[in-house]
Amino acid sequence: MLKNSESSEIKLQFDERLRVFYSLIAAGQFDNAWRIAADIRDQMEPADQVVMAALALRRELQKFLG
């Protein structure tokens, strides 16, 4: 089992990655945001998962539009 300090360190790392994820989206860097999110996807909350789904749909649309 994880010690408290270890689990808060993991939480901090996750929060920081999530913050970077949203910074990249806000800056219009969707591909980089997608790469970052690949590692933290499983820990995301439902609202963030919706954003992932929107990101995925946008990627597909871009492929479709060439």
Binding site: D15, R19, Y22, S23, I25, A26, G28, F30, V51, A54, L55, L57, R58, L61, Q62, F64, L65
Partner: protein, 242 residues
Amino acid sequence: MPSSRLLNAIELERQLTEFLVHYAEKRLRRFEAIFELQRLEEITFGNSRQYWRLDDRFRALKHWFNHVGAKLDESCFNREMIFMLSRCVEKIGSYCRVNDHAQHAKQTWFDLGQAQKVALLANSFLQSRSRNLGYEYTPLGLKLVRPPESPVGVETVDRLDSDMKQKFRQNLAYQEQMMDFLDDPRRHLFGIVSYLFGEIEKNGDRRAEHMAASILYFLKIHGYKVEPYVEKLRKFRNKTAV
């Protein structure tokens, strides 16, 4: 490929991009607000030397509520943040209930009146932030109440304010503030109109409605096709006029 299908795909891609950017900006504001709330927790509960004297702690709290908390975007608060805030407000209230005869109170305290004002400030800050999410802060803690069915304030103020010129000036000031707030080289004026549509849909905000109409007219006289947007604006108008 049929052109209407292609157009739909382009429009959907535009809307998704706009949603993603807009939502990401909101989440970043939430990250910032959480950071500031953690700072409030430090001031409220922290044992650092700078807060050993309660009046120093309360001076810092007063500064936080007046200059930091007041600038945090209300719409980015969520349930967890309201609970963080309520724990702080409860602790601040408990400092004010310190027994005057307690030895440590004599050593650390000298301005209870100021402290009570700060406690009131904290309480009203919590009330206003929690109301948006349907909570009410009571002496027993946070209570989930039914959220108001329609935004209060705007209509009442509108009816009371008979000076149309003054009202128009206020709308112009709002438009200027919104332009500053939404100023982003990547965002087109149509993007701002979409944001304002969101505000109208959510709050029935008339100032946003006026601003959207003004931008659309500006775009129209500069040769842009604005009909779909005007149509949408008309639908909002009809809905709020019912």
